[in-house]
Amino acid sequence: MPLNVNLENLTTMHGDKADRVFREIADLGGFGSVGSGEGQISSAYAGGLDVAGVLNPANTAVSEKAKDRIAELAGVKRPDAPVETSSSGNKKHG
């Protein structure tokens, strides 16, 4: 899956759930809401959404939890995800 998601490549990965996935990524990543109305992003837009920018470790406008979910939905590995230290001292990727 490229670091760009559109309905076509999401359908390859998620089948008939692609539209719902596109909407969720758009919402989590602050792209805007998806729909056919004014002021919305069409899920049919071939240009898609650039998820690389929102997954950038330097992007603090998107929560770590949201980045994890976006990466999961887009089928990509987060670049240089920050390492969080839990209370037990074990390290995990956030």
Binding site: G30, F31, S36, Q40, I41, S42, Y45, G47, A52, V54
Partner: protein
């Protein structure tokens, strides 16, 4: 008390006199993100922008526009304005495109109107590429004008509108004495559910300066 001089700044490297490239079909950037470009040549990153479309040459470059309509607020007790409100906001890119026989390009300039098709006529071998004019759903696209900076030719200025369409149609001359071109004007439409400070687009450069 003695005075001292304040340094002037002519900002000569911040001037703009390089040719840019006009792109459409770009990926929409998310919150606090920007259009991903290939730093080596200032083109949209092909991975992040797999559907990028280069609109080709222009007759005389492009004009970039951001305008807000401010309405002054007056109160009875004072004669001068005491504040302003932003009533309107516009962002646009205009140019004169010369590739008037590129039917794909011309179709993109007619959102909600033109339908592209190609093929061969049945019964003979006459291939065709066409745009039929009627009505259809209006589509928007993310567009950008990308240009090299004077201050550093390896860095780029980017004028990106997240959701735009050409609202002037197409009109061109076919002439032996004149280069055919069509004026275009891409205007931005707000994506209203984005952050209030980031609904229309972003003008930025790939260089951090103060």
């Amino acid at each position: 008390m003695a005075t001292s001089a304040t340094a002037k700044n002519w900002r000569s490297t911040a001037q703009s006199y390089n040719a840019g490239n006009f792109w459409g079909g770009l990926a929409i950037p998310g919150a606090a993100a920007r259009l991903r470009i290939h730093e080596a040549d200032g083109t949209p990153d092909a991975t992040a922008n797999a559907s990028a479309f280069h609109y080709g040459g222009t007759k005389g470059g492009a004009k970039l526009m951001i305008k807000s309509g401010l309405t002054k607020v007056y109160i009875d007790e004072f004669r001068g304005p005491v504040g302003s409100t932003v009533d309107t906001l516009e962002m646009g890119i205009s140019a004169e495109l010369v590739a008037t026989t590129d039917i794909v390009l011309m179709t993109r300039l007619m959102p909600g109107v033109a339908t592209y098709a190609t093929g061969a006529l049945s019964g003979d071998d006459a291939a065709y590429t066409e745009m039929r004019i009627g009505t259809k759903a209006i589509t928007y696209e993310s567009v950008a004008l990308i240009f090299p900076l004077i201050e550093d030719a390896t860095e780029w200025g980017v004028f990106n509108i997240y959701s735009a369409l050409n609202d002037t149609g197409v009109e061109w001359a076919v002439s032996r004495k004149e280069l055919g071109f069509t004026p275009i004007s891409f205007v931005g439409y707000e994506i209203t559910s984005r952050a209030a400070t980031d609904t229309l687009g972003c003008y930025w450069k790939s260089k951090q300066t103060t």
